[in-house]
Amino acid sequence: MNGQIVIDGMTSGAMIGLGAIGVTLTYGLLRFANFAHGEFATWGAYIALVLASLLGTLLGGADGTIGDLTFGWHLLVALAGSMVLTALLALALDSVLFRRLRRHGSGMVLVIASFGASLALRSLLEFGFTGQPQYYSREIAMTVAIAPGMRATLDQLVVLGVAVALMAGTHLMLTHTALGRAMRATSENPDLARLAGIDVADVVRTTWLLGGAMAAAAGVFLGVTVQLRPTMGFELLLPLFAAAILGGIGSVPGAMAGGMIIGIAEAAAVPIAGAQYRAAVAFVVLLVVLLIKPTGLFGARER
């Protein structure tokens, strides 16, 4: 395997890992697969696009660039704003749809509802922005040699760094704060969590906010390194689930490792098998790992 595959795979793997955080946490807590999660990434990307152009209009000038990156601080501000707004979108989707269905419906009803939500969210974006690809910037991405035979764009390196920092931050929050402990406890045993004085509804809300924010970051990073399309998050969905299951449901380090493995495997498959088989790779890797370790790499519990 050459170095280029590793760096390209890690960049997309970091985005998959970020998106998979929400999948793994909501699945671990609410025991349902949210197929609308990919749309949080898409919405995150487009919200940032709108915020960045609003900033440009307000300040009377397009975004500059930071150093040799293709984007400037407008996009960084837009990223933060988009993470907040997408977190609220995830929370809103839970309160208008999933929370009501959780009270009565079965797991299957929730999954189908999430399919519907996914379709609705995606169609709204197609309506507003057409199906044409959009870009945050028209600048040419500069590449640097980081090792013999290994080149990366500066954008890739920054995205990789920020994504890993966000995942590490999430992991530290879960392992070292009272809120994180409460989240892990509730995911493991909601009834005992209640008995220990944890307000489970609060934990559920926090989980949606966190998952939505991380998905938004994944979407923005995908927009920076590739492009924005209304189907970008939907196409990310299978790798997200593969990464979450591969890493072990409920595990943030697992989502991160799973994302990296899927990302690198996909990048490696393209020169070997051709780009049309890229999507199948996530499945193959997932099957192999599940045959060896059914709970996933970092998973403690059977599901």
């Binding site: 009272a178 402990r181 406890a185 009834d191 209640r194 220990a196 004085g197």
Partner: protein, 238 residues
């Protein structure tokens, strides 16, 4: 002085299908009230209704005269009503220290470390296993952790659902001895048990629940000699 008053409580899992059917009793500070009864009598359901995990459809549960109606489980523990369920009573994936940290998190910050230290002093086995994941503890240690987790907030009422289940006779004795100590510190204990002999040995009072109703009440070990009690346990070794 009664701490917990349960009055004609009806509770169950589905509307129109009561499991607990009009149960009344009182529980005082520094007292162990044992709740016995055959499988499926509704003992666990009654314990969960007191803890707030099962909704009460009629009747009342009062703590020092104040109704707990409509109060969620996570608020009841803040008012001093603690519950150790029969299964899933520790966070298996978390360390012993984290289990206790979660328990004391509802206390004022200044009191937390002191309460954890008090629990580790009361259960020395746990002190040695602080960094271990709760799921890796032995059955006895795990039960001690479950009790410590509930007791960490210094509750006024402690309900336990079959704490002796699955333990060796020696460990059952150790658990019952701990419950005695906890009782003597002034906690009101509601002890649901299948192991009638071990439970009645520490009981101040006891009740037998059958088909959701209290079928018999008595005082401690003497109940073992009562033929009516044996009858309620037909086919079971008392």
């Amino acid at each position: 002085m009664s701490v917990l008053t349960v009055e004609t409580v009806v509770a169950g899992y589905e509307p129109g299908l009561p499991i607990v059917r009009g149960v009344s009793f009182t529980l005082s500070a520094g007292e162990i009230l044992v709740l016995l009864g055959p499988n499926g009598a509704g003992k666990s359901t009654l314990a969960k209704a007191v803890a707030g995990l099962v909704t009460i459809s009629s009747g009342t549960v009062r703590l020092r005269g104040v109704s707990l109606a409509g109060m969620a489980a996570h608020d009841r523990i803040r008012h001093g009503v603690a519950f150790v369920p029969q299964t899933g009573n520790v966070f298996a994936g978390l360390t012993v220290a984290d289990n206790l940290a979660i328990a004391v998190n509802i206390l004022p910050r200044a009191e937390r470390a002191g309460r954890i230290a008090a629990m580790l002093a009361l259960f020395p086995d746990l002190a040695a296993a602080r960094r271990a994941r709760a799921g890796l503890l032995s059955g006895g240690q795990r039960q001690m952790l479950a009790i410590a987790r509930a007791l960490a907030v210094a509750p006024s009422v402690l309900t336990l659902d079959e704490p002796s289940a699955g333990l060796s006779p020696k460990l059952v004795g150790a658990v019952m001895q701990k419950l005695r100590e906890i009782r003597d510190s002034g906690v009101a204990i509601l002890l649901v048990e299948q192991n009638a002999r071990a439970a009645l040995a520490v009981a101040d009072r006891a009740m037998i629940l059958a088909e959701g109703r209290i079928a018999h009440e008595g005082h401690g070990a003497s109940m073992l000699d009562d033929p009516a009690v044996a009858g309620l346990y037909l086919g079971r070794r008392v």
